[in-house]
Subunit: 140 residues, 4 copies
């Protein structure tokens, strides 16, 4: 699990006075990026060196309490499932005072530039798992 | 079911050359707005006249094929469940040539300015149902 | 001059209850896209067939009256200056009732994939000018 | 002058492979927020306690070199002009290696809930100026 801090700006909010619902997926992406960085992986490298991408196949968010302007948030990102050509991340969005604001997940396929599913590079599989309690199995 | 057209702009895409995953929730919101308008309802009125809001409690997206810059899309929005204080919408994102790009849903609670769950205004319940094949029931 | 309609969604607003200031540049982009389409030009084609892009070198907005949720807006886009390797567009953002909400401009350079300034394709120059009252001159 | 760090995410980029032009205004806002915080001021407090807001009246950006995914950027925010009811901020967006990517400005009016121009609260004027080399004068 990795934690990424996010400070809510005006541009994240909507006129309900809270963070707009789509922006939680932006926060999750920031968490995912830092997760990879913490494992010594750079997504840009996956694209450039391995010619692989990890497009999102599915995403979901459960909104518990609203995040607000100027809140200092932490996204806690975990890798919970890793298959040959797919990965599932889960996210917890927590406020400075410890309140849990939202949870969510993304499922990613590993694809080549043509969009065909491909195995994750072995070096990535190895590093992704470090320190994560996850279900590894065969399948897609 | 209501259809809303959306033209993809550069600002919707990311460097993968496709629409950024969070922006599908923006498209769904545009669809939801038009759905209400088509039923003779205005969300702004719900806020001003009834002092009710419909914050999103849960949202999910399944990404099938990427939407791209300049694509002309249609969001097909349906109300599929209506309870006393909640509603579930489902969305299909379809490209001009008929290809189904994404599906998704949002669940909304009806709340007062304090954030407490409240019944939807009867006039809204009546109008929301017009022409929709939905499951109505008790519960929250 | 071309007009493009835009319906303001929740995701465009911020907690001040008005459209977030950065989103006016999104609206201008939508206007620019429709401007090109109306002249029979597609920006995607400029990229793919001519290997040219038109990145923004400068942008400015003057905010007069706020745009709000559910407003039906029109972006009026004009090409006001065309040089060998650059173009200047101006924008007026007008509400349904005729109120002028914002004005702005963007200046674009025409570049190749390496980022070097290049002449606009002649076919583009010709079409861009149709119906526009603009200052054509030498220079960059 | 205050510095704010920003890590570019995928959601900031567009399909040109660079940060979308509107998002620089988001970065500037993040810089402005940190500027205020560093002076011991909170924008949320201006709204709640003083019933004043600082909507943007004008904004401009000059784009020099593109910011890219995963870049670590710093926004350098300065207050350069302070009048009775308005303020002008200037921004420099600098990459980790020192390259200057963009410059820009915003002009803000101080308004009450009705949108009428009002003097900035004296406490704000005092604090805003600390450590800034700025032009103070009468007028709007």
């Amino acid at each position: 699990m990795e934690r990424t801090e996010i400070r809510v700006i005006y541009g994240d909010t909507d006129q309900m006075g809270v963070v707009y619902y789509a922006n939680y997926l932006r926060f999750f992406e920031a968490g995912r990026n830092e997760f990879l960085r913490a494992k010594g992986l750079r997504y840009a490298e996956l694209e450039e060196r391995h010619a692989r991408r990890l497009p999102v196949a599915q995403a979901g968010v459960t909104y518990r309490q609203p995040a607000r302007y100027d809140d200092l948030l932490a996204v806690e990102t975990s890798l919970v499932k890793l298959r040959r050509a797919s990965a599932r991340f889960e996210y917890r969005l927590v406020r400075e005072d410890g309140a849990l604001l939202a949870t969510g997940f993304t499922v990613h396929g590993c694809v080549d530039p043509m969009g065909s599913l491909k195995r994750l590079p072995p070096e990535w599989v190895e590093r992704l798992c470090v320190g994560e309690a996850l279900a590894r199995a065969g399948g897609g």
